[in-house]
Amino acid sequence: MLLKATALVSIIGLSDLVKAVQNAGKSSGEPFHFLLLAGLVYLLITTLTNLVLRQLERRYNTGIKELAP
C-alpha cells in the first residue's frame, strides 16, 4: 500500500518516477507509452514484494496447519 502511495509525491513537486515519466511524456508527445512503462515498473516492485512476503509467510508459518484450498 505504501509503495503505491509514494506515487503521489510528484504532486507536491518531488521528482520521482512519475514526475520523470510525465516530463518524458510531455517532451516526446507520447505520454501513453511512458505511463505504461511506469505502471510496469510499479507492477514489478509489487510482484517482488509479494513473492518475498509469501516466502516469509511460508517460512514462519510452518508450524501452523493450513486448510486445503
Binding site: 509503495l3 503505491k4 502511495a5 509514494t6 506515487a7 503521489l8 504532486i11 512519475v18 510525465q22 511524456g25 508527445g29 507520447e30 505520454p31 501513453f32 505511463l35 505504461l36 511506469a38 505502471g39 510499479y42 507492477l43 509489487t46 510482484t47
Partner: protein, 237 residues
C-alpha cells in the same frame, strides 16, 4: 476565515457557479465509482473462484494489474495517456468519452475499486463453510439458484466489514481527482488556497469535510453490519 467561508463556502459544499463542486462532486465520484465497481465485481468474483481456468485466469490477471499499480498511474493513463493516442481521437465515440475529465476519472476509479472488490467477494465466497453449501444442495438447490439464494447473500454479508473498509479507502482515493481537473473538495481547497493564501484554513476545511464523510460512512456500515451480520455473532439469551 469568515471571508474564506463567504467566498468559497458554497463551492466547498456543492456548487462553484458553473457545475457541481466540492462535497457534492466528491460524493458523486464516490457513489458512481462504488456502484460501477460493485456491479462489475459480482460476476467477476464468481469467475475468480471458478474451477475453470479460462474463467479464473483473466480475472486474476485483471486484479493483479489493478492492485499492483498505483491509482495515480491508472488515472494518468486514462486521462492523459489514452487521449494522446491517435486511435482514440479518431473514433468520435471514444473521443467524446475521453475528452471529459470526469469520465476518465470515473473509469479509472471504477476499474480500481472493482479489482479490490472482486478479491474481497471472492475471498468471502471461498470462506463460506462447506456445510452451508451441502445443506443447500440437500434441499435441491443447484446452478444459478444456489448462487442467488445462498452463496451470494452469504458472501456479501461475510464480506461487509472488508467492503466497508474499501468504500472508506475509496473516499480517500477520490481526492486524487483534482489532478484530472475534476472540481472535488481538494480542488476547491487548492483554488481557495491559491487565491487567498489562507493555507491552513483552506485545507483544514477540506480535512474536516473528508473526516465528516468518513464518520458518516463508518456509522452507516456499523448499522449495516448490525442489521445483516447478527447471525454470525454469538446468540444473546
Amino acid at each position: 476565515m469568515i471571508e474564506l467561508l463567504n467566498d468559497y463556502g458554497l463551492a466547498f459544499l456543492w456548487h462553484d457557479g458553473y457545475n457541481l463542486s466540492g462535497l457534492a462532486m466528491t460524493l458523486w465520484l464516490l457513489v458512481a465509482s462504488i456502484v460501477l465497481g460493485f456491479i462489475l465485481s459480482l460476476p467477476l468474483a464468481i469467475a475468480r473462484v471458478s474451477r475453470n481456468r479460462l474463467l479464473r485466469w483473466p480475472v486474476q490477471f485483471y486484479t493483479y494489474l489493478f492492485r499492483g499499480t498505483p491509482l495515480y498511474i491508472q488515472l494518468l493513463i486514462c486521462y492523459t495517456g489514452l487521449y494522446s493516442l491517435e486511435v482514440v481521437r479518431a473514433q468520435p465515440l471514444l473521443d467524446g468519452f475521453f475528452r471529459e475529465a470526469i469520465n476518465c476519472t470515473l473509469l479509472a476509479f471504477a476499474l480500481n475499486t472493482g479489482a479490490y472488490t472482486v478479491e474481497i467477494f471472492a475471498g468471502a465466497i471461498r470462506n463460506i463453510p462447506h456445510g452451508e453449501i451441502e445443506a443447500a444442495r440437500a434441499y435441491g438447490l443447484c446452478g444459478w439458484r444456489l448462487y442467488a439464494r445462498l452463496i451470494l447473500p452469504s458472501a456479501l454479508r461475510r464480506g461487509l466489514p472488508y467492503y466497508g473498509n474499501e468504500v472508506i479507502l475509496m473516499l480517500h482515493a477520490t481526492s486524487l481527482a483534482f489532478t484530472a481537473t475534476v472540481p472535488d473538495i481538494l480542488k476547491v481547497a487548492r483554488d481557495a488556497n491559491a487565491a487567498t493564501f489562507m493555507t491552513f484554513e483552506a485545507f483544514g476545511i477540506a480535512a474536516l469535510l473528508y473526516m465528516l464523510l468518513s464518520f458518516l460512512l463508518v456509522g452507516l456500515f456499523r448499522l449495516a453490519e448490525r442489521r445483516w451480520m447478527t447471525f454470525l455473532g454469538p446468540t444473546r439469551g
